[in-house]
Amino acid sequence: MAKILAVDDSASMRGMVAFTLRGAGYEVTEAENGQLGLDAARENAFALVLADVNMPVMDGISMVRALRALDAYKGVPILMLTTESHTERKMEGKAAGATGWLVKPFDPEQLLATVKRVLG
């Protein structure tokens, strides 16, 4: 099953995302901020990256930009987990190279549906 990287500084959100995806059989690696996410991405080949936008140390946008600079992540789907009130940030994420986004709040079913859509 595909390996997914979930990056969010909120332990509850990360927990929900990871639990849901693991329940569906995906292998999930969790990271607490953009820097740790980037470190994990360098060591593993993930089929999909889910990234929160607002995070300490390194935010999601910077992480996406850094990921896209890596050869291994040129075409890998990266979804931003974002809130609807920040469309500018959404566009910033897109400019940084994000594939798409999942709007918070989302429930486990929406998350799974989106992930399945992206991973085919």
Partner: protein
């Protein structure tokens, strides 16, 4: 798997929200004291944003709604559309308090929003610039229905690099209805030579027809993520006049807020938790590492045991030594998991100090040192109240008013300093102020009134300071709404004692006071000295022991009233015969034949008479109260390596016991 029970994440959500609010408060107070660090604003914003996202996800809609307004205000600050002033900070600090209360109510399953939170939310909202509320999702006007759509889609070369894939888009279109490819073509910009073709770039375009009676928005939604990465036109093939109700789109791309079913709140699971700890990965790694070592040692030992012959005795001894080392290190690693930095407790003080400054008209500079010093979680949870008490006292009674300070030739702003550090096997927390110091005359006169000392009794400074910890030293009558120095000091001491710690004070008139709390690293294990008294074993905590010695006859004096003292480092200390305190049979009664263990408790030293010293040992503390009942002078029990039970001496309890006995005699 159909549904995920979201309530299992509630506890984590509450905990991280609590942390987020604490961080917000700290940052707000830093802003208040004039810092212009933009990272502070980001921290506050991020915390609010996180709480909002979590609250909305886990179904705490009132919390989400409140945080949304606060966040909008913060967004204005972040984007520098609004400056930071005292009014704004006050407002946000109130919001933090309000959110704390709301989260507490969420946690206990009570109605979350109340009049106060609503009023504050409205107040916040009026502060937010007159922009339309971003949360309102405007329903798209119903478009006329069509039977089919012509879609012209040309991928820009970089589309693949964003992780998007035309195939996925087509798959999604197929979910809406039958998809017909009218034409696929290569764009003109494509390189003419195959060798020049970059596989990472896309040079294709498609003309498609989607046979589905959906709205234009439904079709456009499929291309939502590739907006800007393609050329796209969506045109109706033929319009139908019939206004049929729109069938629901099978897969909406961007789920809208408010349309999602929420998991049922389970308050029972939220309140019946046993508490949790967030542990750094380094600590877990250390544990796993130790576990590995232990496995190696174990296999080495079983290897020896399998083909044992006496020539391997040396190897076995080595193995056992290694096992001992592993066990100790493993124990330390496990204990470290329960350790949390004291900063989480220190962080409440900037707010407290700020409030007290305003209330009392004093100027206080708060200095925090050693926030990273780690303490056992249980100790940490219980040390907060005593610390708050000491800080309040220091500001209320220790530090003088600006006028008085000026008159005394000091700076108008008093300094209150909190320190935490390791000392020996203990954690020391100090609260120091540069105020007036303890008022010797006032304390003595009050102690005389209360009958704690005889009128005219000679007392040195340490003894005077000790008086403020006496039960009954103060009465509620002279307590202000903040506690007065002395009020509840006995409670502070009792709380600290319950944690196996000690508290004392040093004071210098006109220069200030220093309260020192000494706490054990953990409550679960103590380093002790095993002693024999009669046929019993008693463990004396190493932390209390100054020295052990055998007394010579000329060192011992009998004093009036039947007490016994001995000469020790230029002073005389009382002797406590432990066998008498605990009623042991067959113990050594001749002081010269036994051994005296000098212990210190809150500045007082006594000698405990025991038969013999048997060695040092770590003792895993088992509560007596849980299995038997509370026994004065005993803090718990432990099991020795030979399987027998030994009692752990509560030194301060024994000292008090001795005092009661001598008074009664």
């Amino acid at each position: 798997m159909s549904t995920v029970d979201l309530s299992q994440f509630h506890k984590t959500f509450f905990e991280e929200s609590q942390e987020g609010l604490d961080a917000m408060e700290v940052a707000l107070l830093a802003l208040d004291s004039g810092s212009t660090d933009t990272e502070l604003v980001h921290t506050i914003f991020r915390a609010a944003h996180s709480i909002k996202g979590g609250a909305a996800t886990f179904g705490f809609t009132d919390v989400a709604a409140f945080t949304h307004v606060a966040e909008s205000l913060l967004e204005e600050v972040r984007s520098e559309r609004r400056g930071v002033d005292a009014e704004l900070i006050d407002m946000l600090l109130r919001s933090v308090d309000c959110l704390r209360a709301m989260l507490a109510r969420s946690r206990s399953g009570e109605p979350v929003a109340d009049a106060e939170s609503e009023a504050l939310r409205v107040e916040l909202n009026t502060l937010v610039s007159g922009e339309p509320a971003a949360a309102a999702v405007v329903a798209a006007p119903k478009a006329a229905q069509v039977e089919a759509w012509n879609i012209r889609f040309i991928a820009l070369p970089h589309l693949l690099q964003t992780g998007n894939d035309p195939l996925r888009l087509f798959r999604e279109l197929q979910q809406l209805g039958r998809l017909e490819v009218l034409r696929a073509f290569v764009v003109e910009a494509a390189p003419a030579q195959l060798a020049q073709l970059d596989p990472g770039q896309c040079y294709l375009g498609w003309e498609l027809r989607l046979h589905a009676s959906v709205t234009r928005a439904d079709v456009a939604a499929v291309f939502d993520w590739v907006d800007g990465d393609c050329e796209l036109s969506i045109d109706p093939v033929e319009a139908t006049a019939a206004a049929e109700p729109a069938p629901a789109a099978p897969a909406a791309v961007a789920p809208k807020a408010g349309s999602t079913p929420r998991a049922v709140r389970e308050t029972a699971s939220a309140s019946s938790d046993g508490g949790s700890i967030r542990v750094g990965i380094d600590k877990v790694d250390a544990l796993i590492n130790m576990m590995g070592e232990l496995v190696i040692t174990q296999s080495m030992l079983s290897d020896i045991a399998e083909n044992f012959d006496p020539s391997q005795l040396e190897r076995m001894r080595e193995g056992l030594l290694q096992l001992e080392r592993n066990t100790r290190e493993l124990q330390e690693s496990v204990m470290r998991i329960r350790m949390l930095p004291i900063g989480s407790v220190f962080n409440r003080f900037p707010r407290l100090v700020r409030d007290l400054e305003n209330k009392l008209g004093k100027q206080v500079k708060l200095e925090l040192h050693g926030e990273h010093t780690e303490l056992d979680k249980t100790v940490l949870e219980k040390i907060g109240d005593p610390l708050v008490h000491l800080v309040r006292n220091a500001i209320d009674h220790g530090l003088e008013s600006p006028e008085k300070r000026r008159a005394a030739g000091k700076s108008e702003t008093g300094t209150l300093r909190l320190d935490a550090y390791h000392e020996g096997g203990n954690i020391v927390v100090q609260i120091s102020d540069d105020g007036a110091g303890l008022n010797r005359a006032a304390i003595i006169s009050k102690a005389e009134q209360r009958g704690l000392i005889r009128v005219g009794q000679e007392l040195d400074d340490a003894e005077v300071a000790e008086l403020i910890f006496q039960p009954g030293f103060s009465t509620a009558a002279q307590a202000t709404d903040l506690s007065g120095r002395g009020v509840g000091m006995d409670v502070v001491r009792r709380n600290v004692r319950d944690l196996g710690g000690t508290v004392g004070v040093r004071s210098q008139t006109g220069k200030g006071s220093v309260f020192t709390i000494s706490l054990p690293l953990t409550l679960a294990i103590i380093d002790g000295l095993v002693t024999a008294v009669g046929g019993e074993r008693y463990i004396v905590p190493l932390i209390s022991i100054i020295e052990s010695l055998r007394l010579q006859p000329d060192m011992i004096r009998k004093i009036a009233g039947g007490g016994e003292v001995f000469h020790f480092r230029e002073s005389y200390l009382p002797i406590m015969r432990l066998y008498r305190s605990f009623g042991c049979q067959d113990a050594i009664t001749n002081i010269e034949q036994g051994i005296v263990v000098v212990v210190e408790e809150e500045g007082k030293r006594v000698g405990l008479l025991v038969d013999d010293l048997l060695g040092q040992q770590q003792a895993v503390v088992k509560s007596l109260e849980a299995h038997y009942q509370r026994v004065q002078g005993i803090s718990g029990a432990t099991i020795l390596s030979d399987g027998s039970v030994a009692l752990i001496v509560d030194v301060s309890g024994v000292v008090r016991l001795g005092q009661q006995r001598s008074k009664a005699a």
